[in-house]
């Protein structure tokens, strides 16, 4: 009954989006209270702990930073994270909590992986269950799941302060923002989410891998008989929670959120999707509260949600239509690379959520999606991760888009470019362009390099236009710090390990520092009250205009590449070849 199928799928999607929207106001309010130093529901427990941490680290109560100090401290903090994670990966063979006795990562892979987790990308050229020890997972990789997400939050909050502070030299204190992000926002919900996940069957233990007998022994390809299945175990739930909530996306296991131990039931699937979307969407409300006009926040929310729903619809239609090449022999949904318990609806909603944010976790293999379905995931990444984008990074990136939108509109209708009472001048435009275009430029350069070198194309799995899609997806993913892949591409080569690491670093820290620089410049400016010459930025016209600007920058830049990859493949498929 295909029609019933659609009905259930749409109900599930609507249910999730309604719950999400209902949570945006309370959670966005909570976030703004945290950073404004107001009392919150968790203050009685966390304030003493926060004080303790500040004293132990030597953070002074009233110390504030200008943007240069904020940025250098942020880079220093992330640099330390990079070095520590790199060392853990190299040395895991001699470190404790390694029941399977995995050796250290090779140099290039360790570097790539460390960069990947510090930049909130979680691109994985390794396979968790056969390479990473429990210590590596929980004290190496998962630490960066927290800290990279918190870094994104810090930049977003400092950026908001640029608008809300007037004639101020400082934009906040990185250490205090970092501690607040971890203590008040990331940690409490991760604990609750992890336990909910365990209750559904996500594992959480330190047991060595366990042998279980197969009901029917099988032959391997080289003729051996296998009588036991070795179950890979580990402390998964604690990592799963922050992996989604921090829009990180790096799976404990190679199959990521498709693995039944990471995502065992439809409920865990929807919970994980909610965790992915919650902070990025709620930050729009936080922004509105900070700026004293929540309608400014809802305008950003509406822009994001509009693009999200349209692309969700396109992808659902494509996956529901399936693959005409196999339809004559296989009835029902197209399930290559998908799990039965999620079906089309749960797979599509997850795929859209993970690429619309910079998460990159997957519960279906994107390489096996229909051409248009795969294109939607790629397009969501190529739009610059703004609908709603990663934790923190989504907000500061869409604000850069908003500034560009205000500027272009100002040029067209002859109004003064200003946003939230701050005059937009040459420096702000430069920084906005840097935030918005860095990843796109990286994608175009690196895809071109990969396509004309042997190292680049020898990693391709699927022939024809799909091979181009694999490379395009890879660089879109790393330059925008998403981390998902058309995973047929063999990414664990010296070329890809080094080049993707470079793209991840630039794609993460150039926009982040540009956002902080702009925050510094904005906070020094005076507040200009709105006048007749001011373009209103909280009305429908602006929402639509902002969406158009995002689409023009993202879609037009990559129109030729997308045409040669997924669009051509779609035509080939429908021609029955």
């Amino acid at each position: 009954m295909p029609d019933m199928e659609i009905l259930f799928d749409i109900t599930g999607m609507l249910f999730l989006l309604v719950v999400l929207t209902l949570l945006v106001k309370p959670f966005g309010t909570y976030i703004s209270n945290v950073y404004q130093g107001n009392r919150t529901i968790l203050s009685p427990i966390l304030m003493p702990l926060e004080g303790l941490i500040n004293r132990a680290a030597g953070v002074k109560q009233d110390e504030e930073m200008d943007w240069e100090e904020y940025a250098t401290t942020l880079l220093l903090f992330n640099g330390m994270g990079l070095i520590v994670l790199f060392l853990i990966l190299l040395l895991q063979g001699i470190l404790p909590l390694n029941p399977q006795g995995f050796p250290g990562f090779p140099l290039d892979l360790a570097f790539n992986t460390a960069v990947s987790f510090v930049t909130n990308t979680n691109w994985q050229a390794y396979s968790g269950e056969s390479a990473a020890s429990y210590l590596t997972q929980m004290s190496g990789l998962a630490v960066q799941n927290f800290l990279s997400a918190a870094t994104g939050l810090c930049v977003a909050i400092a950026f908001i302060r640029g608008f809300t502070r007037h004639t101020s030299q400082t934009i906040g204190n990185f250490w205090k923002d970092m501690t607040k992000s971890v203590l008040y926002i990331l940690l409490p919900i991760s604990i609750i989410a992890a336990l909910l996940l365990v209750s559904q069957g996500v594992i959480q233990n330190f047991d060595p891998y366990t042998n279980s007998s197969l009901l029917q022994p099988v032959q391997t390809s080289d003729g051996q008989t296998i009588v036991n299945q070795t179950l890979a175990l580990g402390p998964v739930a604690s990592q799963e929670a922050i992996k989604e909530f921090g829009t990180n996306g790096g799976g404990f296991f190679n199959a990521n959120s498709a693995h039944p131990f990471e995502n065992p039931t439809p409920l865990t699937n929807y919970l994980e999707i909610l965790l992915i979307l919650l902070i990025p969407f709620s930050l729009t409300y936080t922004f509105g509260r900070f700026s004293g006009n929540t309608r400014q926040g809802w305008a950003l929310f509406t822009t994001m949600m509009m693009l999200f729903i349209v692309l969700l619809g396109v992808m659902y239609w494509s996956e529901y239509s399936g693959n005409p090449l196999v339809k004559p022999v296989a009835s029902g949904s197209y399930l290559e690379g998908k799990e039965v318990r999620f079906g089309i609806g749960g797979s599509v909603l997850f795929a859209v959520s993970t690429t619309a944010t910079s998460t990159g976790a997957v519960n279906a293999m994107h390489d096996s999606l229909t051409p248009i379905g795969g294109m939607v995931t790629m397009l969501l990444i190529l739009l610059g991760e703004v609908v709603p984008g990663g934790v923190g990074s989504g907000l500061y990136t869409i604000l850069a888009f908003a500034i560009i939108a205000v500027f272009i509109a100002g040029l067209m209708i002859g109004r003064t470019p200003e946003y939230l009472g701050k005059k937009i001048e040459v420096f702000e435009m430069w920084m906005s362009v840097l935030i918005v275009l860095t990843s796109g430029i990286l994608v175009l350069i690196f895809v071109s390099v990969a396509l004309v070198t042997y190292f680049g194309i020898s990693s391709i799995l699927n022939p024809g236009p799909h091979g181009l899609s694999e490379i395009l997806y890879a660089f879109a993913s790393v330059a925008n710090n998403n981390g998902s892949a058309f995973a047929g591409l063999n990414a664990n080569t010296l070329f890809y390990n080094l080049v993707t690491a470079l793209a991840m670093l630039i794609g993460r820290f150039v926009p982040a520092v540009a956002a902080l620089a702009m925050a510094g410049s904005l906070s020094k400016k005076k507040y200009i009250p709105p006048s007749i010459g001011t373009l209103p930025t909280h009305q429908v016209t602006f929402v639509l205009w902002l969406a158009v600007v995002i689409l023009i920058v993202g879609a037009l830049t990559f129109f030729p590449a997308l045409s040669l990859g997924p669009v051509v493949e779609h035509m080939i498929m429908n021609a029955g070849q």
Partner: protein, 188 residues
């Protein structure tokens, strides 16, 4: 210098908090409240031997068992040390060939084309424990013949193993193949 020292100290404290205390605390709570789930939902036979996990699928090719979905894991199908999908694109000739071979095999056991898609298309994890109700039902005649059982009895067993959509609307209706086959083996 102060900047470096404070940053380093804060990093160490937060790493201890989220990298050691958090996962250990969650493990403790999980082991107290949900020990079975936290340990992998393991299934045991009467002698206490582990016969699998309720979450992880197993491969079947014997006519007397219900078959799981195709698995693209390397080494052997349903290898939990190499979870993942085929990653074959929708127009890849290898994929079309694989699906057509699997369909022919099902045809040879009397299952008619078009066959249910989940029986010929590989899962994302390579460990998918489930198949659709339809996929179980088309296998009933084969299993009945191999085991000398009536189709009615098997149909009843299959229906007992249906897991409905969660809360009536989330996800898909499905059947856990390993649990179904374990029940089949214990049928008198």
């Amino acid at each position: 210098m102060n900047q470096i020292k404070t940053t380093l100290k804060l990093f160490a404290i937060l790493m201890l908090l989220v990298g050691i205390i958090y996962p250990v605390a969650v493990t403790g709570l999980a082991q107290v409240f949900f020990p079975k789930e936290a340990g992998g939902s393991l299934l045991y036979d009467p002698d206490g031997k582990i016969t699998g996990s309720a979450m992880i699928g197993q491969p079947f090719s014997d006519p007397k068992y219900f078959w799981s979905r195709p698995s693209a894991t390397s080494g052997y199908p349903y290898n939990p040390l190499a979870s993942g999908g085929s990653n074959l694109g929708p127009t890849n000739k290898d994929l079309i060939g694989q699906i057509s071979n699997r369909t022919s095999l099902l045809n040879s056991y009397g299952i008619q084309t078009p066959v249910p898609s989940d029986l010929v298309e590989a899962s994302a994890s390579g460990l998918d424990p489930h198949i659709s109700l339809q996929s179980a039902q088309v296998q009933i005649p084969r299993v009945a013949r191999a085991r000398n059982l009536t189709e009615q009895a098997l149909n009843k067993l299959v229906l007992q193993h249906v897991e409905e959509r969660q809360f009536g609307f989330l996800g898909e209706q499905r059947i856990n193949v390993l649990k179904l086959n374990l029940a089949l083996d214990s049928m008198k």
